[in-house]
């Protein structure tokens, strides 16, 4: 062939193309890195290498030089960097401190329990002083209790309230804007509703804490001012733009011919919207709800400010609640790096990532199939 093609004809062009391609892989790389590095910090926990028992087997300080370095490092609870950077005397001091702590550890039967075991994370356990098995999250105490159930229930409660509040409103608005409103009204309303997503979540949380909590309490007269209900409504504000724009998008993507046919048969605009367009777009509405669910589960500052943050297990919406996200945000600053508490926070972070990952995938898949189907029919 006499014509030069590809990198021979335009080497710079060829290089640039490859560069562009490589950079475009960043998004994939990032999703992978997020999963890998959030999980990485939780790995020792998953492998059962953490021991959070208050009372642990003590190695006498005199035996320090006999102990293999790796075992010593694990015993002192240090990362390899810290261990390498520490001189002999400091280690000796740490050993002695450990021995003292061992003497002081309480005689409580729970002191010997490694509270990071799976059954303590998810199943109820009867701790000393409790009259029946309970789900307890109490990471800062002599016996560290890491039961995740209260946090999961807290997240679900707030999310449910948010969905119950936001979905009907957003769906109503989506139907109105896409089907019933005049075009000029639509052009103003749509971006304005989307402006709601421009309010930072810390501001929505602040508004819920300072204004809404007081107003709602005065109206409804419940006991604790900050609770899952207040947080859920505020969360609803945050997910309205998400649910609205996906629902509106899928309703708009239903071909005009559907509506025109219904109108020609004598239906009113409302009937056409409700009985023809909405059923055609229902997978999109489902996708909107799933996406809203993912957002609400992952929202942090609103629940941190407005939910009251008491980690008690209760399905009552009017009790103070603590969510997974708020727990991470509130406690990460105070944990020892590499400790059990630190790793548990990463573990629930990874759980959160997985949940939102799958809800995102599901929503995207449903939207994709809907669009293809509707376009195929046009």
């Amino acid at each position: 062939m006499g014509i030069q093609r590809g990198h021979q004809a335009h080497p710079v062009e060829w290089l640039a193309e490859k560069g562009i391609f490589l950079i475009s892989l960043t998004a994939i790389l990032m999703v992978f890195l997020i999963f890998a590095f959030v999980t990485r910090e939780a790995v020792p926990l998953l492998l059962g290498q953490m021991n959070s028992a208050a009372r642990q087997a003590v190695i006498p300080a005199a035996d320090m030089d006999k102990t293999p370095p790796e075992q010593l490092r694990a015993y002192l609870g240090l990362t390899s960097d810290q261990f390498a950077a520490m001189d002999h005397d400091t280690k000796q001091l740490l050993m002695e401190a450990k021995v003292d702590a061992g003497k002081e550890a309480s005689d409580d039967k729970d002191a010997a329990v490694n509270t990071t075991g799976w059954r303590y994370l998810f199943e109820p356990y009867q701790w000393t002083g409790y009259d029946r098995p309970a789900y307890i999250w109490q990471p800062v105490s002599t016996i560290k209790k890491y039961n995740l159930v209260p946090l999961i229930v807290g997240s679900i409660k707030a999310t449910l309230v948010a969905l119950l509040f936001a979905v009907p409103l957003s769906l109503g608005a989506a139907i109105y804007v896409s089907q019933l409103a005049r075009p000029r009204v639509k052009e103003v309303i749509k971006p304005t509703i989307e402006l709601l997503s421009g309010i930072p979540s810390v501001v929505v949380g602040f508004f819920a804490l300072i204004v809404m909590a007081t107003v709602l309490q005065r109206l409804l007269g419940y006991e604790s001012r900050l609770n899952a209900f207040v947080a859920g409504i505020a969360l609803g504000f945050a997910i309205i733009p998400v649910v609205f724009s996906i629902a509106e998008d899928s309703l708009t993507s239903v071909p005009r011919s559907y509506t025109q046919a219904a109108l020609a048969l004598g239906a009113s605009r409302w009937q056409a919207a409700w009985q023809v367009v909405l059923p055609a777009a229902i997978p999109g509405v489902f996708a909107a709800v799933v996406l809203g669910f993912g957002r609400a589960m992952g929202e942090t500052m609103i629940v941190l400010l407005a939910s009251g943050n008491a980690s008690i297990l209760s399905w009552n919406l009017l009790d103070s609640a603590r969510t997974i996200t708020a727990t991470i945000a509130a406690e990460m600053g105070e944990v020892v790096e590499g400790g059990a508490h630190y790793r548990i926070l990463f573990l629930i972070g990874a759980m959160l990532f997985v949940v939102t990952f799958f809800s995102n995938m599901l929503a995207a898949l449903v939207m994709d199939r809907l669009k293809k189907r509707l376009e195929g029919k046009t």
Binding site: I193, S201, G333, G349
Partner: protein, 314 residues
Amino acid sequence: MSAPATIDFRSKVFRYGSFFFTGLTGAATYLILAILAVILVNVVLHGWPGLSWRFVSTIPKKDIFDPATTGILPMIVGTSIRVILMTNFVVPVGVITAVYLTEYAPNTSWLTQIIRAAVNNLAGVPSVVFGLFGLGFFINFVGKNLDWVLHNGQKAWGQPSLIWASLTLAVMTLPVVIVATEEALKAVPPGLREASLALGATKLETILKIVLPQALPGILTGGILAVSRAAGEVAPILFTGVAYYMSSLPTHLTDQFMDLGYHVFVLSTQSPNIDRTQPILYATVLVLLILTFALNIVAILIRSNMRRKMRSLH
């Protein structure tokens, strides 16, 4: 209700029903708008009196809760710097990814699908997980290893700082830039590309000299939206660089910084006397809102202007 075949669409019940339900959906719409309005009006009314030149230009000495002497200069500076740094990372990567997706990528290839899925997923990752990622990857992995290489293990990069917070935010806002840029690139009429190619320009030349300049307003929109989103985010910077209090402005990439959004959180929850600090809290919220909201409105105006132009071109 009886079987569909017996419904008379013209019956009075249906006429009134239609009217009623149209009203109901309209009410839902206006309720959402009302919520937006109430939040904005509340913040503006309570925040405006507390806003003064002294307030926005003062570096607070020790007591950040004293309304008479405190200020928010370091927070404004901190938020601005981290957002500007972030823009430098996210815009090039985001624009190049969008160029690949619209100009080069074969639409049906599985790799393209995976890139799109990744962008989509990145947009839905909870902000606090980005914070954990910043801590686990940028600080504990990249930073600590940098310290071993450059400083022989002394802490310089392996701790929360401006650079790590900005990078974390850049990862978070990547989808915003990609999606906006893609939209802008798609809006460039194919005829322009064809004309350029027909005149002998290469594909790269066409993209650099014809397509990108045409799409500039859209790319700008993406950048602005990313900035506005990042400026208000608090959760991703909680563990990656924000400081509760600093007596001076940050001067180096490895410095920590104060932040407007985080300051709102601090004033809301840590204040010893909430009634006394309320005015400065509202004023801080107002400044944050002006920053994020003004940017958002600018982005929306550019975008709607662009859409109108696009419609006239096609």
